[in-house]
């Protein structure tokens, strides 16, 4: 199995649109949709995928939402990629080695070319990363280069300050096809981060007019860019000179724009689009019977949680037992089965499935439904201040139903009053989170950036981490995270993080709810449709029938 797509994260509204309303059956035969009837294949066949209009120009370091990254991932290849079990594989790199996890040596494969014919060299990487990290170029993903030595010289923390240098001192060219990366501190899983889109190389032609290059990207990936008809479609065709492992088994892809998931589903049924990334709530109860073998129901590496606003008077210095109690008062099994129609799987820990270091039942009893114990724990911990909580969510993301269900479940089992705190849309929701105005609890979620368990712990619960919007802080945990990050090898680091995950129960930085699943489908025209850890279809593998 080749070609799981690079990890990347999805802007809230996209992933969350999955939640559902009515009741319905949910059989659990994951991986059913591998395409049962194999037909003759047209190797040059072109198929279409449902997407939305990319938010930003198609510059790799500027694309963080899912509509853009599915396209940039098709056009750009990075040094490494992951297989579906989360293991690293070399793509553009011959090797990525380190002795001390601090100084990394990258050797490139020598026969790679950009789509314009120029060779992919060490310079293509160094220059691209320095450009993307430079604050002058305003790339939204610039902070990803923060591990590299000299990052603050090109990206000062004060927005008004001028960058001190044009290049990061940590990047050094050895020869045309070798370069070294020096980090600020050891990071055993740094090589895993290199599979993220932001670490793509750029051709020389990019710098002449970066804005135009964002409209007409030239990459080094499995597909070549053809055209972008704004708000309608983006077309890419197979790159015949591609040297990577994930060579396309089809002629190309059309990324078709849809305004709603429902219209996309109608078009799938009438044969106007071939691959969907998700099914809208309205069609979830019927899609399995509509599509039969072509219905997809498969877990991917994302988790839904209820996060705690630790900066509020209510939860400042709260006894973790109270949060344990609230967690045990939630009947995850019933809610996922009824309200969410089997589109989620109850979580048993803080790290999602499909990443290195995932362990079952990491949270122990805390995620099991037990009203009696829940009540006892909350009492032991001194009770919920005010005996009343609220859960904030964005009303445009389809969260309302499950948030209400969770609230009811807590009230019924523990007697703690629970209200929903609805924000009109995603913008207003993030606004309240950034301004630290969340009143009590808020819905939160995390899709993997790279398939290592550190991504679900360090990036969420470390003091000051960007994903730590509830201001959770614990000195002991910070020290352990630091230790895990400086472990001698990747395996040791993963093991250290596994230990940390088991201890999270004593701190309860958030309440894990459930893991996400891909609920999607495809047309009769294509086969071999599978979905990667990030929930996106693996485009290169898809075969178009004759």
């Amino acid at each position: 199995m080749r070609g799981a797509k690079s990890a990347k994260w999805v802007a809230g509204a996209a992933i969350i649109a999955l939640a559902a309303t009515a009741c319905g059956g949910g059989d659990d035969d994951a991986d059913k949709g591998k395409g049962s009837a194999k037909g003759a294949v047209n190797a040059d066949g072109i198929f279409s995928v449902e997407v939305g209009e990319p938010q930003n120009p198609l510059q790799p370091a500027n694309t963080m939402e899912s509509n853009g990254s599915i396209v940039t991932d098709a056009i750009f290849s990075q040094l490494v990629d992951y297989d579906p079990s989360g293991k690293l594989e070399m793509i553009n790199a011959e090797s990525v080695d380190t002795k001390d996890s601090k100084l990394w040596t990258v050797k490139l494969k020598k026969d790679w070319k950009f789509h314009d014919g120029t060779p992919v060299t060490a310079e293509s990487y160094i220059k691209a990363w320095n450009w993307a990290a430079n604050i002058k170029n305003n790339q939204t993903n610039a902070s990803w280069f923060g591990d590299i030595k000299g990052f603050t010289d090109v990206h000062p923390e004060d927005a008004k300050a001028k960058p001190k240098a044009d290049a990061m001192s940590g990047l050094k060219k050895v020869d045309d096809y070798t370069f070294t990366i020096e980090l600020n501190a050891p990071l055993p899983y740094f090589s895993y981060k290199l599979g993220y889109t932001v670490f793509s190389p750029l051709p020389e032609s990019f710098y002449a007019d970066p804005k135009a290059a964002g409209e007409k990207p030239v990459g080094n990936g499995a597909y070549k860019f053809v055209s972008w008809d704004h708000k309608k479609q983006i077309k890419v065709v197979r790159n015949d000179d591609y040297k990577g492992l994930d060579k396309a088994k089809n002629g190309g892809v059309i990324f078709k724009n849809y305004t709603t998931l429902e219209t996309a589903y109608e078009d799938l049924k009438s044969g106007n689009v071939d691959v969907l990334r998700q099914i809208g709530p309205k069609d979830l109860p019927v899609y399995r019977s509509d599509l039969g073998d072509r219905a997809v129901d498969k877990p991917y590496s994302a988790i839904q949680t209820i996060a705690v606003a630790f900066y509020t008077d209510q939860f400042k210095g709260i006894d973790p037992k109270v949060l344990q109690g609230l967690s045990m008062g939630i009947d995850r099994a019933t809610i996922t089965k009824t309200v969410l129609q089997g589109t989620r799987e109850p979580a048993t820990g803080w790290v999602a499935q499909g990443v290195l270091g995932f362990q079952k039942d990491a949270a122990g009893d805390v995620t099991k439904y037990d009203p009696a114990k829940a009540k006892a724990l909350i009492k032991e911990g001194g009770g919920v201040p005010g005996n009343k909580i609220s859960i904030q969510f964005n009303a445009d993301g389809g969260h309302k139903e499950w948030v209400e269900a969770v609230c009811n479940s807590i009230t019924q089992s523990t007697g703690v009053k629970c209200a929903t705190d609805s924000k009109a849309d995603f913008q207003a929701d993030t606004n309240a989170r950034d301004a630290k105005e969340v009143k009590s609890l808020y819905r939160s979620g995390w899709v993997l950036d790279y398939p290592v368990n550190a991504n679900f712990i360090s990036d969420l619960f470390r003091t000051g981490a960007a994903g730590n919007q509830g201001d959770f802080t614990n000195k002991g945990l910070d020290a352990e995270i630091k230790k895990a990050d400086s472990a001698a090898s990747l395996d040791e680091s993963v093991a250290a993080y596994q230990k940390i995950e088991k201890e999270l129960v004593n701190y309860m930085p958030s309440i894990p709810l459930w893991y996400y699943k891909v609920n999607a489908g495809y047309s009769e025209k294509v086969q071999n449709v599978d979905y990667a850890q990030d929930g996106d279809p693996i485009l290169t593998q898809i075969e178009v029938k004759k």
Binding site: W9, V10, A11, G12, P54, Q55, N56, P57, M64, E65, I135, N138, Q139, T140, A142, S143, H155, P156, E157, D158, A159, K160, K211, G214, D229, H230, K231, K232, Q233, K256, N257, Y258, T259, T260, T263, E266, D267, S270, N272, D396, K423, A424, D425, F426, Q427, A428, T430, N431, A432, D434, S444, G445, W446, A465, A466, G467, N468, Q469
Partner: protein, 310 residues
């Protein structure tokens, strides 16, 4: 007449400034920040955020932003760039407008032909069976919400009968736009029919009609020239403002049929707090409204020579 037109054109200036300022202020007061939205769910890098805001001029006081934007439009015909994609707003509008114009045009034609047709038939036969059938039909259309009607049309003609594709493709061909145009035009169609019917029925009893009949004019001339010309004044007023509404108010219909027009763009711009895109769209819609009401007023003089513009 010339002075009247000049005065109407001068009136456009305060209306234009007022509406754009209002929209600007409204978008500004919504919680949420368009640049923050670019970073999504996972937290931001404050330095990049601040720089992006500064570069787009979003850190200036709101009135100064408005001033900069308006001077850009007036002096350089520059509607600014979209915050997220960096595309010029004129490009965005240029993509969306032709589709909406076509859709609104079709809906408008359907509205006029069917609406006035039904209204005339009902008006001429006021109180008879045909009149009652039209009454029930229009009542039905007025009371069904647009999305329900759209859904029914899709369910019957696309899924049951398979006559049409459920959604409009990227080329937005005329044939594909027929179903959304019917849905979009249906509500106004009912109003047009009711308006025409009432004024027709009223005017039938007027003195000049009796005179025309007494003179022994052929029926076609009585109805076509004498009756229609007088009865259409309120209908034209309605139609004029309705064209503006068709262009701006197609959010539901466009979303339902996946039409990539103005309605969807407005919706998306509000969601993403894209003040500049929104103001650009609204400015053009305001111009459409003003122009249409000017044309309507001028048409009055044509239809009824008694109306004079001092």
């Amino acid at each position: 007449m010339g002075r009247y037109v000049a005065r109407r054109l001068l009136q456009m200036i305060p209306v234009f400034l007022g509406t754009t300022l209002l929209i600007f202020l409204m978008v500004y007061t919504l919680p949420g920040d368009p640049v923050r939205g670019l970073f999504g769910d996972k937290g931001v890098d404050p330095a990049t955020l601040a720089r992006l805001r500064h570069e787009k001029g979003l850190d200036l006081p709101i009135l100064q932003q408005y001033w900069n934007y308006m001077t850009g439009i007036v002096l350089h015909f520059d509607f600014g760039d979209q915050i997220a994609s960096g595309r010029p707003v004129t490009d965005v509008l240029g993509d969306a407008f032709p589709v909406t114009l076509r859709l609104a045009g079709m809906a408008f034609v359907i509205e006029i032909v069917v609406g006035i047709g039904l209204g005339t038939i009902a008006g001429l036969r006021a109180g008879r069976l045909t009149d009652n059938v039209v009454l029930v039909f229009t009542l039905l259309i007025i009371s069904i919400p647009v999305f329900v009607l759209g859904f029914i049309i899709k369910a019957v003609f696309a899924f049951q009968l398979g006559w049409i594709d459920p959604n409009v493709s990227n080329d937005a061909k005329w044939g594909e736009l027929l179903a959304p145009a019917i849905v979009l035009g249906s509500l106004s169609l009912a109003y047009v029919a009711r308006l025409t019917r009432t004024t027709m029925a009223e005017n039938l009893r007027s003195d000049y009609m009796r005179t025309a009949i007494a003179k022994g004019l052929p029926k076609r001339r009585i109805v076509g020239v004498h009756l229609m010309r007088n009865s259409l004044i309120p209908v034209i007023t309605f139609l004029g403002t309705d064209l503006g509404a068709l262009m701006g108010g197609a959010v539901v219909t466009e979303g339902l049929f996946n039409v990539k027009g103005i309605g969807g763009t407005i919706y998306e711009s509000i969601q993403k707090r894209e003040g500049t895109t929104l103001v650009g769209l609204v400015t053009i819609l305001v111009l459409v409204y003003l122009l249409m009401s000017l044309i309507v007023d001028l048409l009055y003089a044509v239809l009824d020579p008694r109306i004079r513009y001092a």
